[in-house]
Point group: C2
Chain length 294, copies 2
DNA sequence: TTGTGGCCATAACAAAATATCATGACGTTA
DNA sequence: TAACGTCATGATATTTTGTTATGGCCACAA
């Protein structure tokens, strides 16, 4: 006769921290979630495990007994898991990721991947050009483009959405209000994305403003860095700049976002079976993406 | 870092029984369910825990290691749960159940209740008349009737559905085909359900066939028992006779089931809060009912 | 006292995990 | 070669778990 295991685990944490709220933080769920899990366990046992009163909770004698006995069991599971995962000497999953995507999206989310699949090691390289699976030892790639490449399966992650961005300071100082104001500030370009400015200006019917004389950087990451520092106005990929836009280190200009027929895609070779690790990564990527869409 | 616990438990059972199929039986789930749980765990660890080959499975070295380490942990959890549940000295939930319902529906399902709520003890009494919560020490009752009783909350379980039933042997021997054939066999009555035959015959417009001279029993359970033995034809509550109808010890006659405005209800007193145990029982009852409806 | 904030519970609803059924692949056995 | 036993997979349903919003209760501070 086993009790429901997830509630039991929640109980163990809660008993250790002496608080539903702190247990919720520890488990990264909401406080009501903990409350319900404990109730489930209490219903199973038929008696209360915590006494609730003003300002907090206390273990009942039964709860204390339970805690004392099961804690070591969880420690054991934890330890053996740790050890087995660490001993897993299998080959890492080789990812090749479009540079800006890696810097602005993937890296901050890697801890979530390791938590979900601690046994999968990643070897990440980055590049801008499309991958050639015949020449490069890569299992899965994330690249930017139109979505049609020969010999690969691809899955759309998100579309390219462009709009000029700069630091709030520059916007104020240079008093940037209408597109014409662009004449007064340096345009920041990226080597690998030479047409971004032209595309956007074209969509606004203001190709005349294009100014090749601006500053050019070897990577979008640097371009955005320069924009953040107030060096000039960059043409930004809005999806990848959400953090900067949210915390205010960058602001959008002129309210005319342009969506292009280009996007970030996950791609993998058509002619060999996708390794299981790669499927796991894809599954994780999809779930992170669906959070990201909102 | 904890692995997903339910998959871990499924793994433990599977490793012990050396078979997905047997583990599924043991856990009372389908074989694909086990297959998927194991996959979840394997994805988490990043390596296989079982080697699959012709005619079965074998633990991989990692799987064996995992099994060896976590098995004791589960044994501990099992033992302490067992002990705590046994020590739970709290008052039993007092149920008062309509006699036939208890015999033909509840009893065979009690193990499922104990499995879900091992900490809740039941004290079951049975009777036919509606309960009086003021006089009887009862938390929750299951009774039969129209659904309106003063001072109680009630929740419909299933409606009353009547049709004549007898043993297959009697049907053959007495050659029972049309309603008129009822003249040739004893009608079996229940003391507490005197109008069942009359109600059914009335609905068929054949009240003339009513024969008070048949045999009368002090409980429907005995009436059905007599019908099973081939003593005569009883007027059966189809929902409560499903087992008998399925295994062929009783058969229905004349294809004219009658649904009446009476039903089995769960009832509890309006004026005091329903104890938590009783809520658990109700929750269980609802879930068993929704299975039963199909 | 009257906010204000910390704590847990509950209801309504959304999302995720888990189960099922139906079926397939593959090897064994009669 | 057909029938069976084993595990895997796709489509789909169900159950479990989680979230947000809200409420009650108490303590503490203004």
């Amino acid at each position: 006769m086993l009790p429901p295991l997830n509630p039991l685990h929640v109980f163990e944490v809660t008993a250790r921290l002496q608080s539903f709220t702190r247990a919720a933080e520890d488990l990264r769920v909401s406080q009501p979630a903990v409350s319900r899990q404990i109730q489930t366990l209490e219903n199973f046992f038929g008696f209360r495990l915590f006494e609730r009163d003003k300002l907090g909770i206390r273990l009942t004698p039964e709860g204390e007994e339970l805690q004392r006995q099961i804690s070591p069991a969880f420690r054991v599971i934890e330890t053996v898991t740790q050890r087995l995962v660490a001993s897993g000497k299998s080959e890492p999953l080789r990812l090749r990721v479009y540079t800006t995507f890696a810097a602005k999206w993937l890296i901050e989310r890697l801890p979530s991947f390791y938590a979900a699949y601690p046994g999968i090691r990643l070897s990440i390289s980055n590049a801008v050009a499309p991958v050639d699976f015949e020449k490069e030892k890569v299992d899965l790639a994330i690249q930017f483009g139109g979505g049609k490449w020969p010999g690969v399966e691809s899955e759309l992650l998100f579309r390219d959405l462009l709009q000029p961005v700069c630091s709030p300071t520059l916007r104020r100082k240079a008093n940037l209000h209408s597109i014409d104001d662009l004449k007064r500030v340096p345009m920041l370009h990226s080597h690998y994305r030479r047409t971004d400015w032209a595309d956007w200006l074209m969509a606004c019917n203001r190709l005349d403003l294009l100014n090749d004389a601006g500053i050019s950087f070897p990577s979008s990451v640097l371009t955005y860095q320069a924009a953040t520092e107030g060096v000039g106005v960059a043409i930004g990929q809005l999806h990848l700049l959400r953090n900067e836009l949210r915390d205010g280190s960058l602001v959008t200009l002129f309210e005319q976002p342009l969506e292009r027929p280009l996007a970030h895609y996950a791609v993998w070779p058509k002619n060999r079976p996708l390794p299981k690790k790669a499927r796991s990564f894809l599954a994780w990527l999809r779930s992170r993406m669906s959070d990201f869409q909102r």
